[in-house]
């Protein structure tokens, strides 16, 4: 092995990689946030809704979780223009990731809904709470606390694995940026070593942020290391 590492070109283009990392972070946060909202609504509908609505929610979840995210995003990016619906590559990535996260988060949050103790709900009812108030004051805090680790793990999945799919439809997030730059000067090994390190730093910072948020907001004693 006499490979001659040349990190110089990587450092010259480091600002571009940082931009990619920032886009990755933004995409991860928006997709996860939007997915969490979809998941919360779908999990509530699955728990309290009439059978027709529950069937729709089930169909959505089964359809999304049983197909690869890449296919879903290709469908939006390459498939829909065939019928006249054309969105930018970033919009397709974001919509695809959000819908994808929404389905998985429906499953995660549904488990949270099921784990709320009926006695706590009844206590809320006898104190005069409406259904909305029960969701707001009892169910959401309970879910947030009991499944916080699962949520935090899933955020990392979206942040790292989800967003990198964007490289395949030309979104310049971190992976996409690395492919662009390294195909100019063929320093694949150097670029991907640095980018791997950047992903580790990104998830590490996100994990610490999530752990602190969990401790502060929900008294979750999440381990940082």
């Amino acid at each position: 092995m006499d490979y001659n590492f040349q990190f110089g070109v990587v450092w010259d283009n480091f600002p571009a990689l940082l931009e990619g990392a920032w886009l990755t972070f933004q995409l991860g946060c928006i997709a996860f946030g939007g997915g969490a909202l979809i998941g919360l609504i779908c999990a509530a509908l699955k728990t309290y809704g009439p059978w027709a609505i529950r069937f729709l929610v089930d169909s959505y979840v089964v359809f999304i979780t049983n197909t690869p995210a890449l296919i879903q995003i290709y469908f939006l990016y390459f498939g829909l223009p065939e019928v006249g619906l054309r969105w930018s590559n970033e919009a397709c990535l974001l919509i695809g990731l959000t819908l994808n996260a929404g389905a998985y988060l429906t499953l995660i949050l549904r488990a949270g809904f099921l784990s709320v103790r009926i006695t706590e709900i009844e206590a809320g009812q006898t104190l005069g709470m409406s259904l909305i108030q029960q969701v707001r004051y009892i169910i959401i805090p309970h879910i947030a606390k009991s499944i916080y680790p699962a949520l935090a793990n899933f955020f990392i999945v979206v942040l790292v694995m989800g967003t990198s799919v964007g490289a395949l439809i030309g979104v310049d997030e971190l992976t996409g940026q690395a492919i662009n730059l390294s195909s100019v000067n063929y320093r694949w090994l150097e670029y991907f070593t640095v980018v791997a390190g950047m992903y580790v730093v990104l998830t590490f910072v996100a994990s610490i942020g999530l752990a602190l948020l969990g401790r502060w907001a929900f008294r979750v004693k999440a381990r940082i290391f």
């Binding site: 006695t119 009844e122 809320g124 009812q125 104190l127 008294r219």
Partner: protein
């Protein structure tokens, strides 16, 4: 006029009729004790009064106002006037003691904050937990949790308090803590319906004992009448077994 009058109340779980026409009443400041074998429907009476188990017949009068829980409005009116504490302390796990006490008065009733806080502190004093205001329920003993549940029920200033075997999940040493808190309420003139297996306590605080079996009232009267000179065989049988301990 009775403070609480339960008139021929019926309730079903599916096709099983668990309350087959329950009738009793209490005056303001009185305490009625519901006693009877397991499965006789005591808890269901309290659940029906709070609108948790729908009633299929009969009606309830609270201070002369008749309600049969047929609309959300009537259920809300009943929950406005009564509060309940169940056997399993069902505190909100993610909130402190103080938040448990003040959530409903602040967010649902929208009462004045400083009054709510000072009333909550008074109630914590009443149940002997002034130093636990900032604790979470998993940092409290069973007896302490049960007393918080009692204080939380009182924070809504109910006219009538319903207590369902509030000591039965507790270690014997903790039972007295909770019974003391209930005695104080009795002294303050709170109207109460209690379900209890603590017959000595029932004899001490109750004005009226209602003996139930299989969803019906078999016999009702003062504690002395029921415990010492029961008229029915079933009551005699039940009390002779339970009072022997």
């Amino acid at each position: 006029m009775p403070h609480l009058a339960v008139n021929d109340v019926r309730a079903k779980y599916g096709s099983l009729e668990v309350l087959k026409g329950i009738t009793f009443s209490i005056e303001k400041g009185e305490i009625a004790a519901l006693v009877g074998p397991s499965g006789s429907g005591k808890s269901t009476v309290l659940r029906a009064l709070m609108g948790l188990t729908p009633i299929t017949g009969g009606a309830v009068d609270i201070a002369g106002e008749t309600m049969n829980y047929s609309s959300a409005k009537e259920v809300r009116a009943a929950r406005d006037r009564m509060a309940v504490v169940f056997q399993q302390y069902n505190l909100f796990q993610n909130m402190t003691v103080m938040q448990n006490l003040t959530l409903a008065p602040l967010k649902i009733k929208k009462w004045d904050k400083s009054e709510v806080m000072s009333e909550a502190r008074r109630l914590l004093g009443l149940v002997g937990l002034s130093d636990k205001a900032e604790a979470y329920s998993d940092q409290l003993s069973g007896g302490q949790q049960q007393r918080v549940a009692l204080a939380r029920a009182l924070a809504l200033k109910p006219q009538i308090l319903l207590l369902d075997e509030v000591t039965s999940a507790l270690d014997p040493e903790l039972v007295n803590e909770v019974l003391d808190a209930i005695r104080k309420l009795a002294d303050e003139g709170m109207t109460m319906v209690i379900v209890s297996h603590e017959m000595a306590f029932v004899r001490e605080v109750a004005d009226k004992v209602v003996f139930m079996d299989a969803g019906q009232i078999i016999e009702a009267g003062t504690p002395a009448e029921l415990f010492d000179t029961p008229k029915t065989d079933r009551a005699r049988d039940f009390f002779s077994k339970i009072l022997r301990h």
